[in-house]
Symmetry: C2
Subunit: 128 residues, 2 copies
Amino acid sequence: MNYSRQRELILKIVQSDMSHPTVDSVYQALRKEIPNVSLATVYRNLNLLAESGEIRKIESLDGTAHFDFNTGKHYHFICIHCNKVYDIPCDVAPEVDKKAEELCGGKIISHDISFQGICHECLKLKKN
Amino acid sequence: MNYSRQRELILKIVQSDMSHPTVDSVYQALRKEIPNVSLATVYRNLNLLAESGEIRKIESLDGTAHFDFNTGKHYHFICIHCNKVYDIPCDVAPEVDKKAEELCGGKIISHDISFQGICHECLKLKKN
DNA sequence: CCAAAATCAATAATGATTACTATTATTGTT
DNA sequence: AACAATAATAGTAATCATTATTGATTTTGG
């Protein structure tokens, strides 16, 4: 995996964005620096960075991939109204991987807890 | 909400399929009964059934929705090689929703734990 | 039986992602 | 600095998943 300005900037963009950006968000931000960058480049590098563990890829019910610079232990909260993804600081028992591994017979690499619900913002909107 | 043959069959198909079928799997199975059924019908009804809580919609990193007839408490294991989804019987503390709700300020409806790793089958294949 | 509402099939349209190709950049080595 | 091998890129086409549209058909409640 060689150096490229594109990849470096993509990593920086994700790392400076708390809001779990989608591929498209990263693409829009990157175009401000490299106007003729290709969308395929963004896809390729985000997936590479996720595979190498420098960022994290998050599933979400809206059918689009989100990326998270925070590779430390934490979980996610996805609003079913606005599809935003929030971090939830983790304090759940860390031995769940081991426990689950015993139950499934495969090799477990990681886990994520995704909470679904309605976020603070959307709750406010509903009341108005 | 239960008077169309299509919806009834879709529900039965999911309920009789342990393997967390995708929209397309359900579509293929349904066509054996109703050859000219529309894919849109499958999408609409699977989402309706998931909203009404009769089945469960599962997110997965491969970008396709999976559906699960098992609406009881359990978690999921997704193989990063074959993308199959397995159930993991749940015995994790149920108070995580409450705990997370305090932390995020929104309203939490449910949560899912998805474990990622390499499943038993794929481990075997690797060795050969 | 009739009218309103719900559902349907078929297909078009959209949105996300991947594949492909010719070109350019990076790397380690002379 | 020039070289070849490799990796990455831009641009675009193709693919895959999903949603929207439309007009016909079916169900429901009176």
